[in-house]
């Protein structure tokens, strides 16, 4: 890849990562807190107790502040597909664009309409209608998340489409196959439940602060009760969906799994690394196992990958250099096939234009035989299919460790709440507050695993990141990167200040 293109790709990736990570600071709270608010309002509806209305309204204020900035950061993401990844937009527009359009319509009809009722309709509509609106906001925000996650899952595992040789792009042939792809389902469930866990921790953290200050005891304890139950059930479900997601990755994105586990040489009965420190001196094909030290669960990786404790899990080297015994083709061969696919597509087009029927037919045949490796034709070397291993490995392990910590945390909080000794044990209240940033870290690292882990692919095996990028000046992207950075950081500071002030002055 020439240097200019590399610089452009890196800045474009940095910009997308920046905007996506900022966006993801706000979305998970929206996804989860809307359900928590809906549960609280349901209790108010059932009991008619004004104290519950007060609790509902308090969390609604914080939701409103968070929602506005979530919307602001979201618009950039949608349009960035066009501005910074225009070749990608053309290549897959009708597959990726359709869920995106549906997301917009969902957001329009459900979120916008019912959010207005939720905030301004307390004394204007009936209690029942208000409650329904609150539930619809929760449902709407989660449904709009469904579509963008379906679109993302399609990039990780493209299904339900056919390459159109006339237009040189992918076209949708089966909408339902895209929607119900196992990768889409596991991604959706895993992602939204991570939002529920984060929101539960947020509610517990804020409530713990009230208890530390000896204020709003009723609000705090009732909020903790609901959030801890909601959070515990969500985090158990999250662990389950994480296992399914891991299995799907093993089946469809072997390289990503190998990077997540720092596995260089494949093995039968592979162990899952519990804790580990990577060796920075590790080179491909040397005898070093890639770790300074590690603690493992024997055979667990094989079970995660193939539901069989003794099965073979390929390592990075098996995928790059091939492994005949286990049926892995070397990447160098895939690159040759990919280049052949690109060449035959060009020949097909030119022979069609010239009316050479025989050549047209033969080049189409060669193209169809090699299309599976189309994207490989744009790679320069077999090693370029390896993502950033340390970033993916550490992100994955931080996410998993925190995920299990959250389960213990929710159980502890529930235990202390039931015994009514929360205020006597200040450490659990402080822990609750400090768990809030940890929830955000877990959430962000999850996306790093998903997105950095699939590099260099934008669409697995079909389109590389460098192929997808808009051909603009890297300097233009640099400027917009820093503009986004400064605007989003200023808005984040404003949001945190407003939110903490709202809590303090409540």
């Amino acid at each position: 890849m020439d240097e200019n293109l590399l610089e452009l790709v890196n800045w474009s990736r940095a910009q997308f990562a920046l905007t996506a990570m900022y966006h993801w600071l706000f979305v998970p709270l929206t996804l989860g807190i809307t359900f928590i608010i809906a549960i609280m309002e349901t209790i108010y509806y059932k009991t008619n107790d004004e104290k519950w209305k007060k609790i509902t309204k308090f969390w609604m204020i914080l939701f409103g502040i968070n929602f506005a900035i979530g919307v602001a950061t979201g618009i950039i993401l949608e349009f960035q597909f066009g501005t910074n990844w225009s070749n990608y937009s053309w290549f897959v527009g009708d597959i990726f664009g359709a869920p995106l359009a549906i997301e917009g319509i969902m957001a329009f009809f459900l979120e916008s309409t019912f959010i207005a009722v939720m905030f301004f309709g307390w004394n204007k509509v009936s209690k029942k209608f208000h409650l329904v609106s609150t539930w619809l906001v929760a449902l709407g925000s989660n449904l709009s998340a469904l579509w963008i996650l379906v679109a993302n899952a399609w990039m990780q595992h493209p299904v339900g489409m056919k390459f159109n040789t006339e237009t040189a792009r992918n076209e949708m042939v089966d909408f339902w196959e895209i929607l119900f792809s196992p990768v889409a389902i596991s991604k959706f469930l895993h992602t939204i439940t991570s939002g529920y866990v984060l929101a539960s921790i947020f509610v517990i953290g804020v409530s713990a602060w009230f208890l530390l200050k000896n204020r709003e005891e009723f609000l705090a304890k009732k909020s903790i009760l609901i959030a801890a139950i909601f959070g515990l059930s969500s985090s158990l479900f999250l662990a389950g969906t994480g296992d399914i997601a891991g299995h799907e990755i093993a089946q469809k994105q072997g390289m990503k799994l190998a990077a997540m586990e720092g596995l260089y040489k494949g093995e039968n009965g592979a162990s899952l690394v519990l804790f580990g420190l990577l060796d920075g001196d590790k080179k491909l094909k040397d005898e070093n196992n890639g770790f300074v030290f590690k603690i493992e669960i024997p055979k667990a990786l094989s079970f995660l990958a193939n539901r069989d404790f003794d099965s073979f899990v390929p390592g990075i080297e098996d995928i790059v250099y091939g492994n005949k015994e286990h049926g892995f083709i070397p990447t160098s061969e895939k690159i040759i096939k990919g280049k052949l696919a690109i060449k035959s597509l060009k020949e097909y087009k030119s022979s069609k234009k010239n009316g050479d029927k025989i050549k047209e037919k033969s080049s189409l045949k060669i193209f169809e035989e090699n299309f599976k490796y189309f994207g490989y034709g744009y790679l320069n070397s077999p090693e370029s299919i390896i993502p950033n291993v340390p970033l993916v490995f550490y992100s994955f392990h931080i996410m998993v460790a925190l995920g299990f910590y959250f389960i213990v945390f929710f159980i502890l909080v529930l235990f202390f709440l039931k015994k009514d000794i929360l205020q006597k044990n200040k450490w659990i209240l402080y822990t609750s507050i400090w768990t809030v940033p940890l929830a955000y870290i877990a959430s962000e690292t999850g996306w790093i695993v998903a997105e950095v882990g699939r590099q260099p692919w934008v669409i697995q095996d079909l389109m590389t990141t460098s192929m997808a990028v808009s051909k603009i000046d890297a300097s233009a992207v640099q400027i917009t990167f820093f503009l986004f950075l400064s605007i989003f950081t200023a808005l984040l500071i404003a949001e945190i200040k407003i939110m903490t002030t709202q809590i303090k002055n409540y």
Binding site: A68, E78, T83, S86, S89, V92, G93, D94, G104, A476
Partner: protein, 263 residues
């Protein structure tokens, strides 16, 4: 159901959806028009707040329509979407930046300890109020006036101009539609305020502004349309790739004659 549609039917079907969304978006730009008038119509703190609260509950509709409009264009006309957005990079980025600023401003403006201060968030609303309708109008005008780009055999586009869309702002023809959309958004906002706000001062200032904005709209819109009737159109002719003299004039006449004929 859709699998049986011909390409032409699909294109027409999508075009209806896009047109509808575009029309709704232009209609909802009254929110932006209103934002640009905060200081013109509101002279006291109270009047300003009345105006902002009046349009404050409507901003999500404009915003989500824009998102849906973008998604629908992405899905239905991906070659256009990738070429325009990837090429006219700067224009789209400025539009988007202004919407980012808008989205938080209504919520954050009056909140205590909001870091940037009430005035800054009002300026953010003004920025969005001026730039969004103006640049959206200019961008739509480029669909008629054309842009300098090329596509390769994979249909990957490349903008040949280093200004990446900013050059379109310098064209008077493009600018006239931008001003037309901007002043139209103001007209819509004024009419909305006159019906929605019960305040004599705001009403009388609105009335005065209505005349100014309507006049600017009329002049700029007519100058765009009249100029359009006399320019060459760019029809896709794979054989000659030549411009089509007075294309828009011919289309207009055909539509007009067809309409009269049907009556």
């Amino acid at each position: 159901m859709f699998e049986t549609f011909s390409l032409l039917t699909l294109q027409q079907y999508w075009w209806i959806i896009i047109s509808l969304l575009g029309a709704i978006l232009v209609f909802l730009l009254f929110v932006q028009g209103g934002q640009s008038l905060i200081y013109t119509l509101g002279k006291t703190e109270n009047e300003k707040t009345i105006i902002i609260n009046s349009i404050g509950r409507k901003w999500e509709f404009t915003f989500t329509t824009l998102v849906t409009f973008g998604g629908a264009f992405f899905a239905s006309f991906p070659l256009f979407y990738s070429t325009s957005f990837g090429g006219a990079y700067w224009v789209w980025m400025i539009i988007l930046f202004s919407f980012v600023l808008q989205a938080v401003s209504y919520e954050f403006r009056k909140k205590s300890n909001n870091f940037l201060g009430q005035k800054t968030f009002e300026v953010f609303l003004m920025i969005n109020g001026f730039t969004a309708p103006l640049l959206l109008g200019i961008t739509v005008a480029t669909f008629f006036t054309g842009s300098n780009f090329s596509v390769d055999e994979m249909n990957f586009s490349k903008w040949e101009n280093t200004a990446h869309g900013l050059e379109s702002v310098l064209s008077l023809h493009n600018l006239s539609l931008g001003i037309a959309v901007f002043s139209l958004s103001r007209v819509l906002a004024i009419l909305y305020f006159m019906n929605n706000i019960n305040n004599e001062n705001i009403f009388s200032r609105s009335k005065k502004q209505l005349f100014i904005c309507s006049s600017i709209f009329l002049i700029s819109f007519l100058s765009f349309i009249i100029t359009l009737m006399f320019v060459d159109g760019y029809a896709v002719n794979p054989d000659t790739k030549e411009g089509n003299a007075n294309k828009y004039f011919h289309i207009f006449i055909r539509c007009f004659v067809g309409f009269v004929w049907n009556i």
